[in-house]
């Protein structure tokens, strides 16, 4: 390991680091694996690993290359979903109301990604982050366009820019039906839930975390006239003085009758824009500044320093798998500076994160820092699925539904992921559910690979078992077994076994034990492969 003593590097160069920390970098191969899993969701290939091993200074070149990889956009959608929580598995309405037949899982996945595809559109085109709240368009694929009544160009496929047909003002994410379906508001709530969503999602400021104490008088007052209590009680006003003017922007999306069908309930109602008068009585405004509608709100949010800070915080927390604390404030500010210096484009700030010593750390000798910064990262369910798929060509599907990414299916939550509703914070400490998910996925993938590769009638190349045949046995083909097991470990984990590594003999012994028990070459290899696919270097990176 290369020990780096980093002294007072704050403000020096472009690597935000804590002062006086001692960090040992991961070995070069493992650095590249971490980088690849974080940016692309898969391990690097053998040639990439050889390149980094030959010269660790190639790391920065890989950072630049991986940030241009299309899979990076998918990873960033996953990172921002941890804040927006739109991937819930909900379709909100029956897709048949929009003339969509078939599986609702795909519909739910598409609807959830309306805001997240704007995020990746911004990143892909190096647009300023302010586009998120100022874009004069939304993002839609044919499914979203059909469900939400969005113009969609002819003769194209996939995600495209589009505009709502109901004439609503466009202000990026603030105009999206998906967001207001995910964060609904009815009756006396009067868009306050939505206002808090805007604050929490875009400014990282959750009103609900503010401590309040309601005395008996306030409760009695609430009973008689809630709006009067909110407007006159000092405790209530500590939040509502800014929350309610924010809420006032969203009455075009406010439908009193929740029994309406899809088309009515998702149509923007300009005639309702002034309905704040019937509820809080507070004019639209943004933290004391009066506004004239949704688009001006978007502009003011874009100018708010908290907006850029929140985006950076989301990226840092999502990529480094930790909650930032007040102690991280200087580091966060450095990244924000990088963000601002680069016109609020995302790739430079992500690069700064990926280049930092803390990101590349394999060991941290400062105890307090080691308790804040994990030197072991845990794959998300979707990363686990994509790593396994890249290695084995196997995807765990159930009646066509991707078991690891569909929120409603449950496997993702079992493996430490979120479902956007009940489970909103990922778990990075592998639980018993994670171990079972990894085991059963490994068993399923291993069986597919084994039956494919050991099929004597196979005409295409082997996926993984290229060094052995169905006729080979450890006692007669030891060299082939040795070569095969070493190949499997390196292919699966990205790390070659050492010369005297016990794993080779152990896997041969495992093969022999299973063969004695089951009498099946396929089951023996499937078991060996499944055990290797359960290696901690798959789950951790």
């Amino acid at each position: 390991m290369r020990a780096l003593t980093l002294l007072l590097m704050l403000g020096c160069g472009d690597e935000p680091t804590p002062s006086r920390s001692v960090v040992e970098r991961l070995p070069a191969r493992e650095q590249l694996i971490r980088l690849s899993v974080d940016t692309r969701g898969v391990h690097p290939d053998a040639s990439e690993l050889a390149v980094i091993e030959s010269n660790p200074d190639n790391y920065e070149g890989f950072v630049d290359r991986y940030l241009q990889d299309p899979r990076f956009l998918g990873r960033m959608r996953e990172v921002f979903n941890q804040r927006y929580l739109t991937r819930t598995g909900d379709t909100y309405f029956s897709p048949s109301e929009a003339g969509i037949r078939g599986d609702s899982t795909e519909v739910a996945a598409s609807l959830a990604d309306e805001p997240l595809m704007l995020v990746s559109h911004i990143i892909e085109n190096d647009l300023p982050w302010t586009e998120l709240v100022t874009a004069d368009y939304t993002m839609a694929n044919p499914t979203v366009a059909a469900m939400w009544n969005i113009e969609y160009p002819d003769n194209v496929v996939g995600w495209q820019q589009g505009r709502y047909r109901d004439g609503r003002p466009h202000a990026g994410i603030l105009s999206m039906t998906t967001l207001w379906m995910r964060y609904p508001s009815m009756g006396g709530n009067a868009n306050r839930h939505r206002a808090n969503a805007v604050s929490r999602l875009l400014l990282c400021d959750d009103y609900l975390t503010r401590p309040i104490v309601l005395n008996r008088a306030a409760v009695d007052q609430l009973t008689v006239d809630p709006e009067d209590a909110i407007n006159s009680n000092a405790t209530c006003q500590s939040c509502h003085s800014t929350l309610d003017p924010l809420s006032a922007h969203f009455f075009g999306f406010f439908h009193v009758d929740d029994e309406e069908g899809l088309r009515l309930a998702t149509t923007y109602l300009p005639e309702n824009e002034q309905d704040w008068m019937n509820y809080s009585g507070r004019e639209p405004g943004y933290f004391g500044k009066p506004t004239n509608g949704l688009q001006e709100l978007g502009q003011l949010i874009a100018e708010d320093p908290r907006f850029a800070q929140c985006a950076v915080r989301t990226m840092v927390e999502g990529i480094t798998q930790r909650q930032l604390t007040s102690e991280d404030w200087p580091v966060l500010q450095e990244y924000v500076q990088v963000f601002e210096d680069n016109g609020l484009t995302v790739r430079p700030v992500v690069k700064a994160i990926l280049m930092s010593e803390l990101y590349r750390a394999g060991r941290i000798t400062d105890e307090a820092l080691a308790m804040r910064v994990p030197t072991v990262r845990t794959v998300s369910p979707t990363q686990l699925a994509s790593i396994i798929e890249e290695i084995t060509q196997y995807r765990w599907t159930f009646s066509g539904v991707d078991g690891m990414s569909a929120p409603a299916f449950g496997l993702g939550v079992l493996a430490g992921g979120i479902d956007g509703k009940f489970v909103t914070v990922p778990s990075f400490e592998p639980g018993v559910g994670t171990t079972f998910v990894q085991e059963r996925l490994a068993q399923s993938a291993a069986w597919e690979v084994t039956t494919h590769d050991l099929d004597p009638g196979r005409t295409e190349g082997a996926i993984l078992l290229a060094y052995v045949t169905v006729e080979d046995r450890p006692e007669t083909s030891r060299a082939a077994f040795d070569q095969q097991i070493r190949y499997l470990y390196e292919r699966v984990t990205g790390l070659p076994l050492g010369k005297g590594a016990p794993e080779v003999d152990e896997m041969m012994a495992l093969w022999t034990e299973i063969y004695a028990l089951e009498g099946s070459v396929e089951k023996s290899w499937a078991t060996v492969l499944s055990v290797i696919l359960r290696d901690p270097h798959i789950l951790f990176y």
Binding site: G187, D535, F540
Partner: protein, 415 residues
């Protein structure tokens, strides 16, 4: 003294890969808890706290007062399942009314109701109960759905992700995918586990420090738990139930029966945040009480591990983060209200009892904690009082967790 899981596993691994893993250890008899949670805020007047005749409370049209023993509830033709439940199980059921949840924000109120505080570092009641058990449960607290506040005891909580857990545990899921694989035989599974475990143990041993070390150790610890769980014989058909509230509740009972878990959380189906169209509450309560009835039937006909029946060993607790305003708003909905109710059923519960009360405006009033009756000289009932009572019913000392909070003695059976 309870043996650590690692002691057991390493002991059996030392005997060789084939002899392998520990079978279930003898379980010390202790009460288990099944929690239900209605996320969004339930309308307490829709079942638990009827206020017919009050001008300050809008009761559901076509409903009428139901009474069984000392319990009164909102009944009528649209509450047939609710009424049926109380007719069958009133003797084991207590209703808690007028409970102050201290907040009308969903997240903060849920935090209060489940932990008794607004602090995120506090563990919720089921986590505390599971973490403080005398038994070493492989999955101490299983969250099928609904809220989880693990606080500093994250290792206690298993997030089950709907109803997939059993098919993962028994391996059936490998045969359910689009490319089904054969079920791995139990002996082969155990052998493979032992090899997988060795590699994980080596990995963890090399990374003992800081947060990274904690993650590696968590994998090792939970792989040990998984090895204990594998091969357990679950009741046939349990993984074919689906993933809904009923399936989750029945699977929770099975985990209790097998001594795999002490507490479980199941979210109550439905959209409870009825700022409009509040009449949905009644229908959702009907669905919930149908499941509750089936759960009680199951518990009452399943032999217990230290008492004759599981219904003598399991306490059911149903909660929501807050209640709803007494009067309908302009959209026929009801908004957030800090006073709520709870339903507590089964083992250790003083049944046929109503504890706490609200005034004609649905505001909580002082209560004598010994009798549960309204008393001007009593104390205001808060969600924390219910919580510490549950801890006591689980044989814990609540003072270790929330010192100074009074227990609701009226809720506890006098045994």
């Amino acid at each position: 003294m309870k043996l650590s899981r690692r002691q057991l596993v390493s002991g059996s691994l030392a005997l060789g890969a084939a002899s392998l893993l520990p079978s279930a250890r003898a379980e010390v008899g202790e009460r288990k808890f099944l929690f239900f949670f209605a996320g969004g805020g339930w309308d307490t007047t829709a079942v638990f706290d009827p206020h017919y005749g009050s001008e300050d409370v809008d009761m559901e049209e076509d409903s009428e007062l139901g009474e069984v023993g000392n319990l009164d509830f909102t009944g009528g033709p649209n509450r047939q399942r609710v009424s049926r439940f109380f007719r069958k199980w009133a003797g084991k059921t207590a209703i808690v009314n007028g409970m102050d949840c201290h907040s009308v924000g969903h997240d903060s109120a849920a935090n209060f109701v489940m932990t008794g505080t607004s602090a995120s570092s506090y563990s919720d009641w089921p986590t505390l109960i599971a973490a403080s058990s005398r038994n070493d449960y492989p999955m101490p607290h299983v969250v099928f759905s609904g809220p989880a506040f693990p606080g500093t005891r994250g290792e206690t909580v298993v997030r089950a992700g709907g109803g997939r857990l059993i098919s993962l545990l028994n391996g059936a899921i490998v045969g359910q995918s689009d490319a089904p694989a054969p079920l791995v035989s139990s002996p082969a599974d155990r052998i493979a586990d032992a090899y997988a475990y060795r590699r994980v143990a080596r990995f963890a041993e090399a990374r003992m420090e800081g947060l990274g070390g904690a993650r590696a150790l968590s994998l090792q610890d939970n792989l040990e738990r998984a090895m204990e769980l594998e091969g357990r014989r679950f009741e046939a058909g349990l993984d074919d139930l689906g993933t809904d509230m009923r399936a989750q509740a029945l699977q929770a009972i099975e985990l209790f029966r097998l001594g795999l878990s002490r507490t479980a959380m199941v979210g109550i189906s439905g959209g409870w945040d009825t700022h409009a169209n509040n009449v949905r509450q009644g229908m959702q309560f009907e669905d919930f009480f149908a499941v509750l009835d089936e759960v009680m039937e199951r518990l009452s006909t399943t032999p217990g591990t230290y008492k004759p029946w599981m219904s003598d060993e399991v306490t059911i607790v149903a909660l929501s983060e807050f209640g709803r305003t007494p009067l309908l708003n302009g959209g026929n909905g009801k908004d957030h209200w800090p006073f709520s109710s709870a339903l507590v059923v089964g083992a250790g519960v003083a049944g046929n009892r109503r504890v706490g009360a609200t005034d004609e405006g649905l505001v909580g009033i002082p209560v004598d904690f010994a009798t549960g009756l309204a008393d001007d000289n009593g104390d205001m009932l808060g969600c924390e009082n219910l919580g510490v009572t549950l801890l006591r019913m689980a044989s814990l000392d609540p003072g270790q967790f929330l010192p100074g909070v009074a227990e609701l003695d009226a809720l506890k059976a006098s045994v």
